[in-house]
Amino acid sequence: MKKTTQKVLLLFALIAVMSVALCGCAGDKNEAGSSITVGIPQDLEDSLDPHKVAAAGTREVLFNIFDGLVKVDPNGDYYPALCSKYEISDDALTYTFTLRKGVKFHDGTLVTPEDVKYSIDRCSVAVGDAPLVAAYSNVKSTSIDDDKFIVTLNEPDTEFLAYMTTAIIPEDNPEPDTNPIGAGPYKFESRSPQENFVIKKFDDYYDDEHEAHIETVIFKVVGNMDTVAMELQSGAIDLLPRIPLSQAELLDDNFTVLEGTMNLVQALYLNNAFKPFDDPRVRQALCYAADPAEVMQFVSDGKGTEIGSSVFPAFGKYYMSELNDTYNTDIEKAKALLADAGYPDGFEFDITVPSNYTQHVETAQVLADEFAKIGVKANIKLIEWDSWLSDVYSKRQFESTVIGVDASSLTAASLLQRFVSTDSKNFINYNNADYDVAFANARAALNDAEKTKYYKECERILSEDAANVYIQDLPEFVAINNKYTGYEFYPLYIQDMAKLRLAE
């Protein structure tokens, strides 16, 4: 009896050791042609239909698969893509696009004007009483004239070109949600939930100038961003956008860490309908108490760019750096403002923060410490991202929150429309008559100078009225293995893989 049990145990040990030794080396990458593994913090838990995409993380990857009539370049200008050229009528009501010939979709079929009309109508024709893409409610009609595609608007809009980057997709794609077919430099290869998302170079891409160079791009979902340095060093990841600073500092010299901006407005957003934030003096007191420089010192090692209103530097002509000095830190003034607003010994409020954004959680902690100096007690409440979306963003059941708001398109409107009192996305319940007037003027203005003047006026109101406690546009660090080069920063949520090349 005793011999058999010992033998059994020995057998176990043998099997384990054999199976472990058998597979010895870790599999090395030997796919045909060049390939690169790009780390992404979250999987594309989203539909792959370009017109229904919800998360910014999905949009930045699908940029490589779909091309629109026009496409944006790294410094925010538009160049003709599926259209060879475009004209905007003087009254900014009609946009005419001359379609390029011989452009192919990933499934080999030709891009026809009907596909273009189908894609644009799909976004603009109202379902229920609102179109798929909000901005398209201004589209009156679309029509095809031989190889020309004409879009006519209800009201004049000089900035409408920005919305013409919408993806053009084939009309007859049976499963747009799961099998994306577009006309971009890369085509969809495969996807495995929570593991990876693979795209391959589209060989007969129409635009040689913006053609892809690297054969295969594997978007790998990173499990734990706080220890990602190990995965980079081990070669499991070659390129990692938005790498936390703590991990970037650990990388050795076969990595380069590029620095850009996250292109979002990070601020302590105050629910203006919640007492005491309905009183501008209380909001201004918080602005005086807050010190963006100290926040940047802790959260991003002093590398962020301070902002004074709801526009970040990538918006060039609209960005007003002078607004940063509206509220230079002044504890006494803050206390005074609080006193005459009826809160001599401060008050208590909650800062609700989505738990998955470490920088926002850290910012909240620094702000809480700063507010303590003027007797204001800020309790930090971490909640899940989905709860934040529904409770804070849509139901507006919150007192204050730290979040970064990005722009869906390169139009100033996409950042400022949110503060119009009647706008559906006005989650801070901001209500200022002058602001509504200024914004309306800006929308109506035809010439660029006038439009910029009114948009700047909106920004000034937000700043002086202390709609929110503005902090920074967070820095973005990108770690890239020196085997690769060519990474470019974009003003919007875009990861352009076509620009990447193998370094010689």
Partner: protein, 264 residues
């Protein structure tokens, strides 16, 4: 031979727990920096005389945070075990003693909670009552009920048809009286052991919860939260992970050795 090891464990365990108790108390008495006070100049200060454990990425004093953290982790574990034991005993006693239909139903509920991922339970409470320490205690407490109930049920089943129980019933003692006065004291030893082991698991569960961002809200420290925050700076400031880890290990080691010595 055997009981010599036993009381060494007991002494060792007890001394570690006293040390930790003193350590936590010191946090309250000594004039230390407020655990949440931020200071840019002290960012990642190395352990020195002025800052025995060094400072974290916010320049906060790790020493006072570990003290405060140990206290909150200890209280959470205590609360969890308390809830787990109370309901565990009630369910365990009822099912073990009466058996029959009650046993069947409660056991199924028990299995259901057992198979139910505790993370989802924690999320449920967080969204119901808002994030915070108490919600974690309730969530973990309920997640711990099944294991206690199972142990108590086993003991009650064993004792139920023992002779002394039959005699007590002969004497006309009510079921409740028998359960509380007769059977319960007999299960105390096993229960005590389960409590100690439960305590360790509670401390570890709290650490995992903090890793997922549920539980003690920042900037207040808990050992679990500090560990999960420290993993990003593992190489740059190993002391940030070392001291909370050490405190966690000592806390669990103390109770582990104690439970060892209670082993029958």
């Amino acid at each position: 031979m055997k009981n010599r090891i036993k009381n060494i464990n007991f002494i060792l365990g007890a001394s570690i727990i006293c040390f930790m108790a003193l350590f936590i108390l010191a946090g309250k008495i000594l004039p230390l920096r407020d655990p949440n006070a931020i200071d840019a100049t002290l960012k990642f200060a190395k352990p020195s005389l002025a800052h025995p454990f060094g400072c974290d990425n916010f320049g906060r004093e790790i020493l006072s945070r570990v003290m405060q953290g140990s206290l909150s982790t200890f209280l959470i574990a205590l609360g969890t075990v308390f809830i787990g034991t109370i309901f565990g005993v009630i369910i365990g006693a009822a099912t073990g003693y009466f058996g029959g239909v009650i046993d069947e139903i409660l056991m199924r509920v028990n299995d259901a909670i057992f198979a139910f991922p505790s993370i989802l339970l924690a999320l449920l409470f967080i969204s119901l009552l808002g994030p915070g320490t108490y919600q974690v205690v309730i969530a973990l407490g309920i997640a711990f009920v099944p294991s206690f109930a199972r142990i108590v049920r086993g003991e009650f089943l064993k004792n139920r048809n023992m002779d002394y129980v039959k005699c007590a019933r002969l004497m006309g003692a009510s079921h409740l009286r028998i359960m509380v006065i007769h059977i319960l004291p007999n299960t105390l030893r096993v229960l005590l052991n389960a409590i100690l082991i439960g305590f360790n698991n509670a401390v570890l569960a709290e650490a995992s919860m903090s890793f997922l961002g549920i539980g003690v809200q920042p900037p207040d420290p808990s050992l679990g939260r500090m560990l999960s925050e420290a993993q990003a700076y593992l190489f740059k400031a190993p002391n940030y992970a070392l001291f909370p880890g050490l405190a966690l290990i000592l806390l669990v080691l103390g109770f582990g050795l104690m439970s060892d010595s209670f082993e029958k």
